[in-house]
Symmetry: C2
Subunit: 436 residues, 2 copies
Amino acid sequence: MHPKEPEIHGFKAYKSLSEVPGKVDLAVLVLPTKIAADVLEECGKHGVKNAMVVSAGFAEMGEKGKKLQQRIIDVCQEYNIKMVGPNCIGIVNTRIDLNTTFFPNDAGPGFIGMASQSGSFVTQMFAYLKKFGAGFSQAISVGNEAMTDLTECVEYLGECPRTKVIAMYVETLRGGGRFIEVAREVSKKKPIVAYYVGGSEAGRKAALSHTAALSGSDALYNGVFNQCGVIRASSMAELFDICYVMGAQPLPRGNRVALLSHSGGPAACAADTAERYGMELARFSERTTEELLKVVPHTASVGNPVDITFNKDPNDYSRTLPSILMGDESVDSLFMYVLMPSHRVYQTFKTMMTDPDQARKAAEDFILNQCRDMAQLAPKYGKPFVGGSFYTRSEPFTKMLQDNGVSVLPSPERAIIALSALTRYAEKRRKLMAAP
Amino acid sequence: MHPKEPEIHGFKAYKSLSEVPGKVDLAVLVLPTKIAADVLEECGKHGVKNAMVVSAGFAEMGEKGKKLQQRIIDVCQEYNIKMVGPNCIGIVNTRIDLNTTFFPNDAGPGFIGMASQSGSFVTQMFAYLKKFGAGFSQAISVGNEAMTDLTECVEYLGECPRTKVIAMYVETLRGGGRFIEVAREVSKKKPIVAYYVGGSEAGRKAALSHTAALSGSDALYNGVFNQCGVIRASSMAELFDICYVMGAQPLPRGNRVALLSHSGGPAACAADTAERYGMELARFSERTTEELLKVVPHTASVGNPVDITFNKDPNDYSRTLPSILMGDESVDSLFMYVLMPSHRVYQTFKTMMTDPDQARKAAEDFILNQCRDMAQLAPKYGKPFVGGSFYTRSEPFTKMLQDNGVSVLPSPERAIIALSALTRYAEKRRKLMAAP
């Protein structure tokens, strides 16, 4: 609808709701703050049952705004309208191709269900998630939560079969008690990961002016999250790193990780990070050590991390070694530093084949087969398998690994931090399930 | 040289040093561990004064390896050979296009001087740094440091005029006392940033098997770094984030930061991170607040963070507002959340112009001018200006900002963490300069 224009971006625009043929499923209100309530009332009179108020200038803008917000709540209650917002950017549901935001969803469908107190952390994550080959199942920008709050979104996403993990961007939790109750139940079914920014004084003030949020201390929120199995992330990137691993990997039975690398530096970084984040480096069985020694060169280290230093047969690194480690009873999860610059594989095949196209095809097949073999390990052993590489998705090896189900993150540290979060969730979930 | 092949990758291979015409400036030894000392001795006899031993299997491999390492040290001392390694990957010097590693340097020349106890953290950073438009001035993989250690590299890079900031990957500091002495002096001239992974038990063990490093506790190393103004990073990504900002931005006079955003979520993240990392949110002068209010829409917040929520004239966001903030006496540095999807700028120009090529050119010019204006702010006010955006270098706006000197990092949190490190360095440097 538009008061003047007959057409917007090729779509017919109506002057009023009475002109619209058929039933209106959803009204998205992007208009001056002052007239929002009146237009919403018109919607109610025409039987619209779902609305989204994108406009800002409500409770986040002091007393006057609070009154305006109360008026739209009153209207919604009177006409039984389910409303998201105000001061939000809308919702995304990739199953029905619904996207009310003004950004195209580059990422496509995925398994992350997002409930966010920031609209930017829906829209600006489309391009971000695409970089990992990840995406949203659904995403909801809740804005001021006048009627639909984060807790309700978590409950809803808990029921969504395409949502394997729930991501939350939190400036405040309105009504903490009910959140704990809901999140405890949802956490038994699927993980919830929260990035909370209201714990510092500066964060609290920023949140207040952003979404009228009255935040609480870190200690309070850590207590809340802890009670209901919610994993806390310390940045937007970490939030999605963790969700990305949680949605794709099986739950580990314990915190004993095996680290596999062909370079000592990344291995040491992974080991250091693992300990800082509460993981234990697995002590391999004698049999494992013997089997490792059969495969690795003499310069290698077969402690944990396993650092092979170099390898002549790439199959050793991508198949034999990870299989040996995953098969060890004392290993709960595997981290692997992954790197195979495709141009070098191609060069190798070029020395063996005269036709460059044939060589390129052979190189691609070779890489794809390696990736597929690696992707079978996690389901085969029922243990999580994460990769770390500074070569991101523009490198075919990384892309093929990711597309085949290996969670490859952009550095050893980020991979280990995400794996440690999955491990903590598995532990918390066991406790929740055991509780009366 | 090669014992059998007459040619390798198109280069002539000699059977022995005596066949090589003219003086040999540098010998790079990539050969079986056992014969390294003998070949090095041959080099010595032929007057080679610089060598690099890439081969592994020395002190990092126990007693036998330690003896082999001592032999190459003896040979170098006898023939007065300056040696880097063993168990290293070589060096890079972008001024003279020298790269002894087996990776092409995608990144090109830059201002980061790297001294690393991991070869991978030289070679695998080429592609990584390219993503930021950054690069190495020089990079040295020190390996086991049999003769050339990190301290010597820091001293050397301190003198390099193209090196604006020194990055260190550290598993151990051999000879801590001399390091403190050297680093204190270098820190007065340029910043040193260190990523130390030997502080945990797991990191210590991994480092021992990697480069025979005997690491010390975090407390010990924090004390060492603190004494000599070295800034500690907590991951490889953070190491380069910090270097990237330090090499490009002026030193702030204090820790009072102004935060500017057009979205509330990123603003709240930036505020929360700033406080956690020791920054103070600047309290703007009355005049600043008045000037801000003249420009921003009524939904905006003009506290700190300044969150404009939306803007009609992009010049307000990229020129007027940052200028107002930078001009305030109570502001020491500026963080700005930056985002301008180029395709939308292009679409806007397309509605005004009939010729698509002309519209594209106009859009590019528009973005470039915005970026150039923003890039003038840091030098004009002598205050650091960092940007954060989830849109990386594949987005022209981010690329143009970076190429014009604005340090744009891949998220608000990472930008603030790097800015806080620059702020801490500025503070430490003032103390070092004031010390007797």
